[in-house]
């Protein structure tokens, strides 16, 4: 029986294992050093915040793996040996494979800052980071201030975590406005304001120069690059993005870029070795997607696809329309299709924007100013229906169509106030159009086109 070895039990590796099991009776082993059982990495923050216990982050009960005949092996893979089709561990005997799937995800970026390896410096990625944070910052007596370096999604999550225990936080963001490489200015500025409302000391246009230790080698302060200001702190969180976690692959003769280079079938240049998830780098980008996508659902989709490939149904990976979501403190964010920030949008892309006069609710719709084709939407504080937008994107609907039927796409809980009429009124004013909002229709929503 073919032995499939998967290195990494994150969402990619586990999805691959589950779907291979559904479609075959191959021998499956998942190797991990981080934790025995699969957990949701995105939920680690909630454990520190006391919303969940660690066991709640595990989507499957512990008996699941044995019942589905998926072997779990704890160990740190030291190297891959393609010639003998084996992997070796830092201790214990080698393991042989017939097919190997590398799904080791990412690790936090470190840009060579002085002091970046001191005691008190951590990323927020692995289960071990959570355990470390619990020791370093159990409360605001032990940790009097934390400094977070890097204004992305993990940075703001770490800030939210620390604030849940009333720990003062200074948040260093390189850009002129939070996440403005991704978000339009309207939204980025709203988030700046929201971050500050949560009593987070947000420092824009600010870089880290160095981290300074006390006499015991523990973090005592950071120094800022621009001003030379020194900020006393006990914990430094490095959240300036992630990079593929592939050090152990380097000796195997597998082609690497920033990640493990793969084609649309997740094949590396070495036979029987595949890579999926955050650590895989597409040789050619797919649509406007990045070559490396460190996103939960792409990891899952790659797992679904490779299972088909491994089980003899050779299928190219073709992710559909881009979508994503996040939560910034109290504000939920969803996006469908492509909305680029002012910095990155192309000449033909125009915005239609609406913002609630009081609440932190806003949308940006991106459309082609020549053809009026709908390109994408960002919503803050409004939930939208994935399926409807996916259909509209596939059918290349115009922005007028999207607005007219916007109520169909609303996914807010029942009885929520709908903002569609105000949104459409604003569009009509700005564009001298006369779009009339259609009432929500179950028939349209649930008709599979």
């Amino acid at each position: 029986m073919e032995h499939i070895v998967i290195i990494g039990n994150g969402i990619s590796g586990v999805t691959a294992a589950r779907h291979i099991r559904k479609n075959s009776n191959k021998e499956i082993t998942i190797v991990s050093v981080e934790s025995t059982y699969f957990f949701s990495r995105t939920a680690l923050m909630y454990v520190y915040m006391g919303h969940l216990k660690f066991e709640h982050t595990q989507p499957y009960e512990n008996w699941f793996w044995e019942k589905n005949d998926i072997q779990l092996k704890q160990g740190f893979v030291e190297a891959i040996h393609p010639d003998t089709k084996e992997i070796s561990f830092t201790n214990g005997p080698r393991m042989s494979y017939d097919k190997l799937i590398i799904a080791t995800g990412s690790k936090p970026n470190k840009f060579g800052w002085p002091g970046q390896d001191l005691n008190g410096v951590l990323g927020m990625y692995h289960k071990q980071d959570l355990e470390k944070l619990e020791v370093l910052a159990p409360n605001n007596k032990v940790c009097k201030r934390a400094v977070i370096v890097g204004g992305g999604l993990i940075g703001i999550e770490l800030a939210e975590m620390l604030r849940s225990r009333k720990i003062p936080v200074t948040f260093l963001v390189r850009e002129a406005s939070f996440w403005d490489g991704v978000l339009p200015a309207q939204e980025s500025e709203m988030l700046n304001k929201h971050i500050r409302e949560h009593h987070i000391d947000l420092r824009l246009n600010t870089n880290l120069k160095e981290i300074i230790a006390d006499e015991n080698g523990r973090v005592s302060s950071v120094v800022l690059a621009e001003t030379g200001e020194e900020i006393e702190c006990n914990v430094v969180g490095l959240t300036a993005g992630v990079t593929p976690n592939i050090d152990f692959v380097k000796t195997a003769g597998i082609a690497l870029g920033r990640g493990v280079k793969v084609n649309r079938f997740f094949e590396t240049n070495v036979a029987n070795i595949y890579a999926i998830g955050d650590c895989a780098e597409q040789e050619k980008a797919i649509g406007q997607r990045r070559n490396i996508e460190a996103v939960w659902y792409t990891g899952r989709m790659m797992g679904e696809t490779i299972a088909q490939i491994i089980c003899g149904n050779k299928t190219a990976y073709t992710p559909g329309h881009w979508f994503n979501s996040a939560k910034f403190l109290d504000i939920e964010y969803q996006t469908y299709g492509w909305v680029f920030s002012e910095k990155n949008k192309k000449e033909n892309e125009a915005y239609f924007q609406w913002k609630h006069p009081k609440e932190q609710t806003c949308i940006t719709i991106s459309f082609d100013k020549n053809t009026q084709q709908f390109l994408g939407i960002n919503t803050f504080g409004i939930r939208m229906r994935h399926e409807i937008f996916d259909t509209w994107l596939t059918e290349s609907k115009t922005i007028a169509h999207v607005l007219e039927y916007l109520a169909d796409a609303n996914f807010d809980p029942e009885f929520y106030k709908m903002h569609e009429p105000e949104i459409i009124a604003k569009f009509n004013r700005e564009n001298n159009t006369n779009i009339k909002p259609k009432k929500k229709s179950w028939k349209r929503i649930f008709s599979k086109s």
Partner: protein, 540 residues
């Protein structure tokens, strides 16, 4: 603000201490003429009981409720034992005529209930005489303190949104020592309420004036329970309003359960009594209202003229027509988390404990076995009751209808629904009864699962498997197991509280009533992935 909150906690604890302390105060004794009046009202034929009670409680000084209760119970026991002995003797002598005569002298009723009735007449002291003051020191301080503890959250919780920080780090909500104390308090309360009402007679004195003003009668322990229930729900509803002030579904739902509890379960029945109509809660549907078809209830309704007949028809139509039709259109949530009293308490007092329900597959198995067993039990019992009512026979296939009714009342009505159902909130979560026991929930569940427009829609591929939905599901449904597969949640046990949707950080879940077609949508590949792959899977 923090100071107000802390003061509130102290005030609440003082109120609670007074409340518990009230049990032990006062003295109980009767004057000769009071006892005579009482005996006349009761029309006991036993002469022994008069002497026994006289000796026990007339003109005796300084009896607390426990001494009083034990003397009264002993007095009744003396009388009953005497006639029991006579019955046994005549039985031996085969003197059937004399034996038969003895039964009229026996006094029926549970000893602690008999003692309660007399204690209501015999009570002296602060609770019975200085009721307003004592009400303020117990209920008053409790309510005031609780509100002082809760209301500052408007500011302290920060901006509106999901505020679950520290729930699993807090001894009150993570089965810590405060949770265990709350558990002991609640369980003790229910045991006293159901089985030792005389011990809490002082509490009943506190609500007597309120009872008099509504129904015109002095209160019973059930009036106390109803009043306390409404009070607790109201105070904890304020907490819900603040915690979920960004969420209109939660606000409306909380208002609805509060309205139905106060108006339908509390005020209307008491007012009916004032107009000499049967006490009836118009929203309490059979089989949750398990004694609706019991002989005594049917007889009472049938003897209450047109109004009684109306209740009989309404109660039947409610269960047979209204309940299932509404479940078809809205799911069982319209009852369980918008109308029901048990649900109402669970969604207010119980909300802080929702995360403690077990999500394992094993508990789901237990749940299905137990809740359906209770449904079968109640249906068989009702069959017996109706058969007995129409045929006049007191037993069916050798089993006494009365016995099966008593067993159900004790095991299910009192122990399961009360002591375990509410007492175990701080340990097993806030829907123990609704999830494992309620036969009405089981019935609604069948309809919701097989013939309803209600579902929780999963939003395509947005789920990140974080587990907030499952953790905060009070019914122990592993919501995530469906959401992460892109499947809608269609489960018989879902009461539609809407918290899974509220706590989801990615906007994945929405409770809605849509067309039946496509309501259940098993998917292997989630939306977003390669279209051909999806087609391939659906074709299979």
């Amino acid at each position: 603000m923090k100071k107000i909150k802390q003061t509130g906690l102290i005030v609440f604890l003082i109120g609670l201490t007074f409340f518990i302390g009230t049990i032990f105060i006062g003295s109980f004794s009767l004057k000769q003429n009071e006892l005579d009046t009482f005996l006349q009202e009761q029309q006991y034929k036993s002469t022994l009981v008069k002497d026994a009670l006289e000796k026990a409680v007339v003109n005796v000084e300084n009896l607390n409720i426990f001494e009083f209760s034990s003397r009264v119970r002993a007095a009744y026991a003396t009388s009953n034992q005497y006639y029991d002995a006579r019955i046994a003797q005549f039985s031996k002598e085969k003197n059937w005529e004399e034996k038969g005569k003895q039964y009229q002298y026996k006094i029926s009723g549970k000893p602690h209930s008999l003692s309660f009735t007399l204690a209501k007449k015999a009570g002296k002291g602060l609770a019975a005489e200085n009721t307003a003051l004592m009400w303020f020191l117990t209920f008053g301080l409790g309510i005031l303190g609780a509100l002082m503890y809760i209301v500052p959250d408007v500011i302290l919780l920060g901006k509106p949104g999901i505020k679950n920080d520290g729930i699993f780090l807090n001894a009150a909500t993570n089965r810590g020592w405060i949770g265990w104390f709350a558990f002991i308090f609640l369980v003790s309360f229910y045991i006293l309420l159901y089985f030792y009402p005389d011990f809490i007679v002082n509490w009943v004195f506190l609500v007597d004036p309120i009872s008099l003003s509504i129904s015109g009668n002095p209160g019973s322990q059930w009036f106390l329970y109803g009043f306390l229930y409404c009070t607790v729900m109201t105070v904890m509803a304020v907490r819900m309003y603040i915690k979920y002030r960004h969420n209109k579904y939660q606000i409306l739902r909380t208002t609805s359960v509060l309205f139905f509890q106060i108006v339908f379960a509390f005020l209307i029945p008491e007012i009916l009594v004032r107009f000499e109509k049967p006490w009836y809660d118009f929203k309490n549907a059979f089989p949750l209202d398990y004694d609706f078809f019991f002989r005594w209830n049917l007889e009472e309704l049938l003897s209450s003229g047109g109004f009684g007949l109306f209740i009989l028809v309404w109660g039947t139509v409610l269960t047979v027509v209204i309940v299932p039709v509404m479940v078809y259109f809205f799911g069982k949530r319209w009852y369980c988390s918008w109308v029901c009293g048990c649900g109402g308490l669970a969604e207010t007092l119980g909300d802080p404990y929702r995360q403690l329900s077990s999500k394992t597959l094993l508990s789901w198995r237990f749940e299905r076995i137990i809740i359906h067993a209770v449904l079968v039990f109640v249906l068989v019992m009702t069959g017996f009751a109706l058969y007995t009512f129409f045929s006049g026979a007191s037993s069916v296939i050798g089993i006494k209808t009365q016995t099966i009714q008593d067993v159900y009342g004790f095991l299910i009505g009192s122990i399961f629904a009360g002591v375990i159902g509410t007492g175990f909130y701080p340990i097993f979560g806030n829907r123990v009864w609704c999830r494992f026991g309620c036969p009405l929930a089981a019935y609604l569940g069948f309809i919701q699962r097989f013939k309803s427009r209600f579902r929780i829609t999963t939003n395509g591929g947005q789920c990140i498997s974080c587990g907030n939905c499952s953790t905060y599901c009070e019914q122990g449904i592993d919501v995530r197991a469906y959401a992460q597969k892109g499947e809608n949640i269609v489960r018989s046990s879902c009461v539609g509280c809407g918290i899974c949707s509220a706590v989801c950080p990615r906007g994945v879940l929405k409770l809605e009533n849509g067309p039946e077609n496509g309501r259940i949508n098993p998917t292997e590949i989630l939306l977003g992935n390669d279209v051909n792959l999806m087609e391939l899977v659906t074709r299979k």
